[in-house]
Symmetry: C2
Subunit: 430 residues, 2 copies
């Protein structure tokens, strides 16, 4: 089929999704009342031409002639149809396994003890450096498959486990190659300031200078859309991050930051100052930080799984952020230490229980606001002309999606107009 | 194949599970060191004849002539093989949906507020009374399918959402019928003392008298193996439970109790006094209660999902229970209020993070000790002559099973010698 065919309004649908209890577009008018953007229940069917949504409405109002013998059908059987999930924060390309750290936590060993025992981010850096591109791809593919099974059709992926020029390029090349090997769209982020490798322990300036050279190489090769930094006591200071990220921005990358996770460090204020697209974690954000995010239009990204796994005393204040008018995205944060799970569904439930989000807000967090945290308005919503990334859920109500804790509800995943997954394990809630 | 064929030592295997990183039998010698019972890594293959395990060992030592052209193969591809999970506490037969309560909790509404708004156990009682057997079966089947996908091959199921003579019998008949409609073995428990229905609000004695008559009918029809009671402030007193359960025991039922969940009410002591098989919940158990359980040989059943969902301040002291020599089982507690999830894998991870269990202990909690909490030694372990209920996991290490939070790892489920599920969603961890 040529692209001119696809554009024609009279060309039949390639796929018709029908029989939904409702199609939630997450594409309502801009509003601080998150509920409104979901309430746009737009009928029970979605017509798709090629890769794009061509029509949304009640099946009874289907335009004549658009469903033909060549049209494939996908019956939602009374479930909700929602945009494919946008998971805007992950570290999904890595080698090694840090399950032993999880076991140590059960023995009340703290982060310092875990690092002393050879764990922590640096242990993943060593394991990842030791693998070539093909090996990293083999390790990442099942993780992407599990994320897809939870409904993720767009995923941000960070580097930050290489931390040499060659290894960071290797990791970002892996992300690029992975993009064409499986259905999930990957959005690459260059994360140099993730942890200080031991070989640079006595030369922070040297490490940061190497970061600049690596940044230039990353930009030259077009390997990243975003630059990121972990601003925290024991990681990097706001001053170090400001300098590095300002340069990244000058070179054309957009910014996102890990901030205010373990301590209140004016990280949200820094994200606002730098014009970052997102500020991520925020367990310890201050009221001033929340106000700064709101003023600067920065999207907050909450990752309650990491709060749970690290057994932190306080969850990020999702309700306060929302009340201040900050869009709140939710992400899996998949990584081998603090968030060793692709179960994004769990994040939805935890966000309601522990971050004070409503079920509507949780769903928006992995659709519209998840996309906004990546600076995108094409994905994370359903609209005519947009990409046909959507999920047929096994439940009829948004409230159920969060409440049915840690259960994946995607009975079918449509990516770019193609049915790429059908669940076979009872993802159906009467 | 006749049963005499199945018994013959020279009869070929019907199924050979091979290629495991290890077969964990959970059938080691009795010991308070839970680790030992898992450390019995018994080779890499399991030979099955009909419904039973016929042989466990290294494939290189396979007896001659037992693998023929009629033998089916299941390749574990380097994953662990473990006993099918025994989930010893559930309320999986119910009607209605209480997702709205979950949403209310996100708004900080407490249990009293939820009950005032029409929620709570009684709302499920009304919804369940309104459905006939066939409708309840249709609602329960997908839940059992999801539990099976998480590796559950034996499941306890409680009544307690009927609370009239007819409705309790209906519910237990549903459990019996469900047993033959899907692969999971169901163990029925009669739970009369679950909540006081409003029609009995001014006549507790009348409700308990009706419970006695219902108990007799349940026993007459052979519908339950266990009797249970919810001992808690606002539910039932130890005295009420003692009287009722003593009668149940006299009529031949074994006992299990919901105790010390929301307050320390000497419930564990009561379970020990009554010779219960299990004492369940135990978030608020006292040191005296722990000692009583140990002395009486009662198995503790922890359900961390309910602690999480109810946002309780304290998790059950799994580590202290274990150190006192109490076997600790883990259960899903599937119910529409406090544990609205069939994700038993999540319980394994939470038990390590929040109950202080080790990953080995968590696995034993859903195998050997889960079975012991149902008074059984046939399931929950792998041994020659025992039922061929086993899982091929997608991971090689027990530590990974808990750490990979809320991810199901059953790549294949074998129930009674038959492969009843093969996962298609990336349940594989290199």
């Amino acid at each position: 089929m040529s692209s001119s065919d696809i554009d024609g309004d009279s060309v039949p649908f390639t796929l018709l999704v029908r029989g939904a209890s409702a199609v939630l577009t997450a594409d309502g008018p801009e509003s601080s009342d998150a509920g409104l953007t979901l309430a746009s229940r737009a009928g029970d069917a979605v017509g798709i031409r090629g890769h794009e949504v061509a029509w949304i409405g009640p099946e009874t109002a289907l335009p004549h002639g658009l469903v033909t013998r060549g049209t494939e059908f996908l019956d939602a059987e009374g479930g909700l149809v929602v945009p494919g999930f946008v998971d805007c924060h992950s570290h999904v390309v890595f080698a090694g396994d840090r399950s032993e750290e999880f076991a140590l936590r059960s023995l009340d060993v703290d982060a310092v003890g875990i690092t002393r025992s050879g764990g922590g981010i640096i242990s993943t850096v060593f394991a990842t450096r030791a693998k070539d591109e093909d090996a990293l791809i083999r390790l990442a593919l099942p993780r992407l498959e599990r994320l897809l099974a939870h409904g993720v059709t767009t995923l941000e992926v960070k580097s930050g486990y290489g931390l040499t020029l060659e290894d960071e390029l290797k990791l970002l090349r892996v992300v690029r190659r992975l993009g064409s090997l499986q259905p999930v769209t990957l959005v690459p982020t260059f994360l140099w300031m993730h942890a200080l490798p031991p070989e640079w322990a006595s030369d922070r300036a040297g490490f940061l200078a190497l970061g600049r050279r690596t940044l230039e190489a990353v930009v030259r090769e077009g390997l990243a859309e975003f630059a990121d930094a972990f601003v925290e006591q024991g990681a990097f200071t706001p001053e170090e991050a400001r300098s590095f990220l300002t340069e990244a921005k000058r070179l054309g990358l957009r910014l996102r930051l890990h901030v205010d996770q373990l301590s209140a460090g004016r990280g949200a204020e820094l994200a606002a100052e730098l014009g970052a697209v997102s500020a991520d974690h925020l367990e310890c954000v201050s009221p001033q930080g929340i106000a700064a995010l709101a003023r600067a239009g920065v999207t907050a990204v909450l990752m309650p799984v990491a709060t749970l796994v690290l057994r932190r005393p306080t969850y990020a204040p999702g309700k306060a952020l929302r009340e201040a008018g900050v869009p709140v995205a939710l992400a899996s944060n998949v990584n081998p230490g603090s968030a060793p799970t692709e179960n994004l569904s769990l994040s939805l439930g935890l966000a309601c229980l522990l971050n004070g989000l409503t079920p509507d807000e949780a769903l928006l967090g992995v659709t519209r606001w998840g996309a906004q945290a990546l600076g995108r308005t094409d994905v994370g919503r359903l609209k005519v002309g947009g990409p046909a990334d959507l999920l047929v859920l096994g439940c009829r109500e948004v409230a159920h999606l969060s409440a049915h804790l840690g259960v994946r509800h995607a009975r079918a995943v449509v990516k770019g107009g193609r049915v790429v997954l059908r669940a076979n394990d009872g993802a159906r809630c009467p």
